[in-house]
Symmetry: C2
């Protein structure tokens, strides 16, 4: 499959590399075609790997991953172009983190809105599925890094798109179907994005980012 | 021990009832001494149970639980009175949920501040520990309702107060020490309060409120 990965940071690198490894043709998109991050990744990742602008990549992909930094995702996807996203599944992995130096990390949007909802409103013809944004990028593409069962949340307005994404995440990244939790429509992104402050604290407690959470059900009545 | 439970809703009822059951003297505080909720609870809960105003209860308790609705907690604790909270451990269980009818649930404070921080700033001589606010109230006082291991987060600026609270939650409510996670100073309350939107979605998915989350660590390297 031809897949666009928008963003050449750690998250984009982890996802793009895994997608090439499982047999896809991947174009990494950046603000400029000459982006150092994109070029470096493409030259290291083999012949199925290319890089280009956000628009080049979005035009190339049948499926688009948004791995840009969340505070800049709307701008990046505008550069990608609505016409290049039309009808496509857009997996939104980003968190709208304002990581300005000297500030405690905060979200640039939350509570009454979310990045996932902003993207779906801005690109009504894209099939936005929010997923993977509650964990470290290495865990996203290799869930076995975390011991035993743990959960991946997804949400979006298009049930068919969510179904496809669920299939792909299981097949390509190794998630167990039973560990995927569908939170409903795209406004569920408020919940998964607002989990970030707790995740950041837990990172400090755990001492490494290779953890995740599991939703533990009610005990069986004895 | 003499304990104040401020708030006569579901959370206050669950906590006050459990505290009486394990042998404490409990005064439930409400806006008015004649509060129907407080009177009803006190008459049902036996001779160790009393009710009164927020100020009556806070003056009575050596330890204070804030179980008022989060959107009104600051006002309730002002009625309780700074002089009645001075030097005491204040366990803040509340979430600042705006549950106005006809609105999607949102938080009245989040992101750059939290209810826990507001309370600690407003009552600098109270020893605020944020705890228990990431789960249903029946799970708070009976963790065995949820199967196996699952976590309780606490945070606060006073390490001694956190240590006491940890001891009490294990001894009185049945938490396992290894399932408690100390998130650091009181600003960790942003994380646990902002978990609420995800918790509310999960409630819908799980079909009942008797679930919790477990933080799953990195797999051992094989």
């Amino acid at each position: 499959m031809k897949i666009a990965v928008l963003g050449s940071g750690m998250v984009g690198n982890a996802i793009a590399t895994k997608l090439v490894r499982v047999g896809h043709q991947v174009m990494m998109g950046s603000r400029t075609a000459a982006s150092e991050g994109g070029q470096k990744w493409a030259s290291a990742a083999g012949k199925s790997a290319q890089c280009g602008t956000f628009a080049d990549a979005a035009a190339f992909g049948e499926l688009v991953f948004n791995c840009t930094s969340g505070a800049n995702s709307l701008a990046a996807l505008r550069l990608a172009g609505a016409q290049n996203l039309r009808g496509k599944v857009l997996i939104d992995v980003a968190n709208p983190l304002d990581a300005s130096p000297g500030k405690a990390p905060t979200l640039t949007v939350c509570n009454q809105d979310s990045l996932g909802e902003q993207l779906q409103r801005e690109f009504p013809d894209a099939r936005v599925v929010k997923a993977l944004n509650t964990m470290n990028c290495e865990v996203m593409v290799q869930p076995s890094l975390v011991s035993g069962d743990h959960n991946l949340f997804l949400c979006g307005n298009d049930p068919g798109a969510k179904q496809q994404v669920a299939n792909w995440l299981c097949e390509w990244f190794g998630w167990k179907r039973g560990n995927l939790i569908d939170l409903g429509d795209i406004s569920g992104a408020r919940g998964t994005e607002m989990f970030l402050p707790l995740w950041l604290r837990l990172w400090g407690v755990m001492g490494n980012p290779h953890f995740n959470i599991r939703v533990v059900p009610r005990a069986e009545k004895s």
